[in-house]
C-alpha cells in the first residue's frame, strides 16, 4: 500500500546513493576518455593538445601492451584454474565428517583476510627468496638447486600468491553451496549403485554449477585488476614479464607522467572489464527474480 507521498519519500531516500555513484562513475570516466585523446604529460603541461587516436595507436602497437594483455589473461585464467579445482576438492574434503571441522575451516579461510601487500611481501621474502626463502631451503634439503621464483618465473610467482589469497574464497562459497545439497538425493544415487565419480559428475557438479559460475565471475572482476601483489613483488618485471594492464597504466601515469597514454590504457581496461561484467550482471540479475 504505497501512497503518492511515500513513493516520493522513497525516491528521496535513494537519491543520495544514486547521485554520488553517478558522479563517481561518470565524471572521472568522462575525464579519462577526454585525456585519452590528448597529448598530456604532467612534466610538460605546455605541450598539452588534442591528438585524436594517437594514444590508442601508440598503445595498441606497443609490445608492452600485448604483453600486459596476455599477462592479465594468464593471471585470471591461472588463478581461476587453481582456485576452482582446488576449491572444489577442498570443499568436498571439508564437507566430510571429521574432528575439529570448525577449526579447519578457520585455517583454510584465513589467507583471504591477509592484506595483499602483506601476503605479497611475506611470499616474496620468506618463501620465494632464492637465498633465505623457505622454499629454497626445502629444495636444498632434497638436493635441488633453489629456484629463483621472481627472477625466472615472475608471472607464475604472482599467480601462486594471488591464488593463495583467493582459494579460501572459492572454497568457502563452494562449501556453502555443497552443504545445501540434498543428502537424500546422494543416498538414493548411492543405493542405485552409482559410484563416487558418477555421483560427483551427475549430482554434485550440477548442483555446484551456479556457485562455480558466481566464483568465476566475481574473482574475474578482482583478478583483472591485480595490482598490489605485482607492485611489491616484481614491479612488473623483469622487463614486462609480470606487467598486467593495471600495472602498465599505473606505470604510464604515475611513473612516466604520461596522462594521455595511461588514460587510453585505462579505457582499454574498462572495455575488457565490461565484457566480463556483462555476463556477471545477467547472472546476478537472474537471481534477483527468484
Amino acid at each position: 500500500m504505497s501512497t503518492q507521498h511515500s513513493r516520493a519519500a522513497a525516491r528521496l531516500l535513494v537519491a543520495p546513493s544514486v547521485v554520488l555513484l553517478f558522479l563517481w562513475m561518470i565524471v572521472p570516466l568522462a575525464l579519462t576518455v577526454w585525456f585519452s585523446f590528448e597529448r598530456f604529460n604532467l612534466l610538460m603541461p605546455a605541450t598539452r593538445e588534442w591528438i585524436g587516436l594517437t594514444n590508442y595507436r601508440f598503445f595498441l602497437t606497443d609490445p608492452a601492451f600485448f604483453a600486459a594483455i596476455l599477462n592479465t589473461l594468464l593471471i585470471v585464467v591461472g588463478v581461476l584454474a587453481i582456485t576452482i579445482v582446488g576449491g572444489i576438492l577442498l570443499a568436498l574434503l571439508l564437507d566430510r565428517p571429521m574432528f575439529g571441522q570448525g577449526i579447519v575451516r578457520l585455517l583454510v579461510i584465513a589467507p583471504f583476510f591477509v592484506m595483499p601487500t602483506v601476503s605479497a611481501l611475506v611470499w616474496k621474502n620468506m618463501f620465494m627468496n632464492p637465498v633465505n626463502g623457505l622454499l629454497a631451503w626445502l629444495q636444498k634439503a632434497v638436493g635441488m638447486a633453489p629456484h629463483d621464483w621472481l627472477a625466472t618465473t615472475p608471472l607464475f610467482a604472482v599467480i601462486v600468491i594471488v591464488a593463495w589469497q583467493w582459494l579460501p574464497f572459492a572454497t568457502l562459497i563452494l562449501l556453502t553451496a555443497l552443504q545445501s545439497l540434498d543428502e537424500e538425493q546422494r543416498e538414493a544415487a548411492e543405493l542405485d549403485g552409482a559410484g563416487a565419480i558418477a555421483r560427483f559428475r551427475f549430482i554434485v557438479l550440477p548442483h555446484l554449477s551456479r556457485a562455480i559460475t558466481v566464483v568465476i565471475l566475481i574473482q574475474t572482476i578482482f583478478l583483472l585488476s591485480v595490482f598490489a601483489e605485482i607492485l611489491v613483488t616484481t614491479n612488473g618485471g623483469p622487463g614486462t614479464d609480470s606487467t598486467n594492464i593495471a600495472f602498465l597504466v599505473y606505470a604510464q601515469a604515475l611513473l612516466q607522467f604520461d596522462v594521455g597514454g595511461a588514460s587510453a590504457g585505462g579505457i582499454v581496461a574498462v572495455v575488457l572489464a565490461n565484457i566480463v561484467a556483462f555476463f556477471l550482471m545477467r547472472m546476478i540479475g537472474r537471481t534477483l527474480e527468484g
Binding site: S2, R11, P28, N125, V232, L272
Partner: protein, 276 residues
Amino acid sequence: MARRVTVTQKLGFTALAWGVGMLLFFPILWTVLTSFKTEAEAVASPPSFLFFDWTLENYTEVQHRSNYVRHFLNSVVISLGSTVIGLIIAVPAAWAMAFQPAKRTKDLLMWMLSTKMMPPVGVLVPIYLIFRDLELLDTRLGLTVVLTLIDLPIIVWMLYTYFKEIPGEILEAARMDGAGLWAEIVHVLTPMAVPGIASTLLLNVILAWNEAFWTLNLTAAKAAPLTAFIASYSSPEGLFYAKLSAASTMAIAPILILGWFSQKQLVRGLTFGAVK
C-alpha cells in the same frame, strides 16, 4: 540422515583436512613465528620452528622506527570512517528499495552493482589529478571519500538482501496503526535491521582495511594506512625479515579475528546474495 562413516574413515578425513588446512595457514603461522625471532634467527638455515629465543624486540623496534601506531590509526579511521559514512548513505536507499520498490528498482540495483565492475585504473588518472588539485592526496579525508564510494554499491546490496527478508506485513501493520514514515523506520524497522547492518559493517570494514589499490596510489607518508605502510618494506635495508613479520602480524591480526567471525556473512555479502 547422515551416512554411516567408520571411525577409521573419519580419522583419515581429519588427518587429511588438518594437513591441508595447516599447509594453507602456514605462511601466516610462519610470519607470526618469525616476528618473535631475532633477525639472525629469521634467516637461519636450517630454519628453527619453535626452539629459538623468543623476543618482542621487533615489535618495539617497528613502532620506534616507523611510528606504526599512526599507520594503524590511519587504517582504523579510513576503514571505519568509509564504512560508517557509506552506511548512513546506504541505509535509507536500501530501505526504500526493499519496502517501496518502484518499477525501476531492479535496474537501479543492477546499475549500482555495475559501478563496482569498473576497474580502478580506468579512473586512476583523473582521480589522481583532481586530488592533487584539491590537495587531497595523502589525506585521510580523501581516502575515506574514495573508499566510501567504492564500498557504497556493496553496502547497498548487502543491506538490500537483508532488508528483503524482513516480513512486509509487520510494516503494513505499523502503517495501519498510523505510524508515520519516521516512526516506522525508528521503532519497527531499525530493531529488525540491526543484525543485517552489523554484518554489513563488519564485512565492509574488512574490505576497506585490505583495500590496496587506492591506498597505495593516493597516499605517501602522512595518511598511509597499513597496506601502504607494509608496502614500504619492499625495498628494505639490511636484515629485516623479523621486523617485516612483526609489522605484518600486527597489520593482519585484528582483521583476521574479525574475519573469522564474519565467515557466514562473507559468502552472502560477496556474492550479492546469489549464494547463501
